[in-house]
């Protein structure tokens, strides 16, 4: 049945919306604050300190592990503890681990800085028994430092860009076909409709990205290669439409549009696929930042992310088809009203 694929995209997006809203975030540690005289307070997110039967805190410097003392559960997401560290440590910067039978092992890197201690990387360390708790949690999204609850935006922001790539690719192929033909062909309108949707998806991607940046990096815009590349690529595709509107003759419009579409696609490849690999970026997976798959050991994100990608691609294709059909009908009406064909 023709068109049976069309509702699949929106249905997938509905599934994604429900999952994104309802799936809880896994537990994690946000910050560790020194309260003086060796006492510290650690703030968690989504943790179950009060419900757990056993909660232990250790700090680690290199291979040395030092257990905390007097661990007090001040709330379901707040712990207080005291550290009695030796005078000499392998490193002044210590990682913090909170081990609980419900949350498993939670890590906060470089949580404690022992500024008054001496450093000796070869210092002898005592063996410490550390419990290995497996988390007893339901289905959840992984906790990532700094990203926290905004990880839900992964299901919108990234699939929008994937979908834009697909639509831009369709426009690119259609433009090549248009160049190879004489006069105006169906490929011209296909390229135009695909580029229109690509611009819309690009703008949506920029908005979701900007909102995400505000919460994770503290500002609406940063000088990041991928952000800059995304903005410029969207501007280039917008320029394609401006160029088309500047030309009256259909054959010339089709040809110039096809040429510029080729430039825009090459620009997309350079700015979004090539240059980010060679530069420092705040984006996950680039410039030394861990990618999302580094933490996604139970694939909880993939169960929602991949359907989101497919959902947006199918929805984008449906939008492109609608715009294409509107253009064909309009052209047919114009021909008919002018008494042509």
């Amino acid at each position: 049945m023709k068109g049976i694929w069309k509702p699949v995209g929106p249905l997938l997006l509905l599934y994604v919306a429900v999952m994104t809203a309802l799936v809880p975030l896994g537990p994690g540690l946000i910050e560790c604050v020194s309260e003086g005289t060796g006492t510290y307070r650690v703030q968690g997110h989504g943790t179950h300190f009060l419900e757990a039967q056993d909660v232990q805190v250790v700090v680690r410097a290199g291979d040395a592990v030092y257990p905390a003392e007097d661990v007090v559960r001040q709330g379901t997401d707040v712990l207080a503890f005291r550290l009695a560290l030796p005078d000499t440590l392998p490193s002044r910067s210590l990682d913090l681990f909170v081990l609980s039978d419900i949350d498993g092992s939670l890590l906060l890197s470089n949580a404690v800085f022992a500024e008054h201690h001496a450093v000796d990387p070869e210092v002898a360390v005592a063996e410490v028994d550390v419990p290995d708790y497996a988390p007893q949690l339901g289905f959840h999204f992984p906790f990532q430092p700094r990203v926290e609850e905004t990880i839900r935006n992964l299901m919108w922001h990234v699939p929008l860009w994937f979908s834009m790539f697909v639509l831009a690719g369709i426009a690119f192929v259609a433009s090549i076909r248009q160049l190879g033909a004489a006069g105006v062909t169906a490929s011209d309108e296909r390229a135009r409709s695909a580029s229109a949707v690509a611009v819309g998806l690009g703008v949506a991607g920029l908005i979701t990205g900007s909102i995400w940046a505000r919460f994770t990096w503290g500002t609406w815009w940063v000088d990041d290669p991928q952000l800059n590349g995304a903005l410029v690529t969207t501007a280039a595709y917008a320029g394609y439409h401006i160029l088309r509107e500047s030309v009256d003759r259909p054959a010339l419009r089709a040809r110039l549009g096809a040429v510029y579409n080729l430039f825009a696609f090459v620009l997309l490849v350079i700015l979004l696929l090539i240059m980010p690999r060679f530069s420092e970026s705040l984006h996950p997976g680039k410039g030394g930042n861990p990618g999302f798959n580094t933490y996604d050991l139970d694939s909880s994100l993939r169960l929602v992310f991949y359907p989101a990608v497919l959902g947006w691609i199918l929805t984008g294709l449906w939008m492109q088809q609608l715009i294409l059909r509107m253009a064909r009908l309009r052209e047919r009406w114009e021909h008919t009203s002018q008494g042509i064909g």
Binding site: A17, L22, P24, L25, G46, G138, E149, T315, L322, R332
Partner: protein, 54 residues
């Protein structure tokens, strides 16, 4: 499976704004697409009725 009560996202109250905005945008978009699909199909059938198709 979905522990609603454990979700900090929903418990914080900020989720409501996010969901409302996202919901309005998505539902509006899909509603337009459905309306356009039905309108276009009707017009296409009018221009080229099924009996005329080879």
């Amino acid at each position: 499976m979905l522990a609603l009560s454990e979700s900090v996202f929903l418990g914080s109250g900020k989720a409501g704004v996010v969901l409302a905005v996202a919901g309005v945008v998505l539902i509006g978009l899909l509603a337009w697409m459905l309306w356009a699909e039905r309108r276009l199909t009707r017009l296409e059938r009018k221009i080229n009725p099924p009996s005329n198709r080879p």
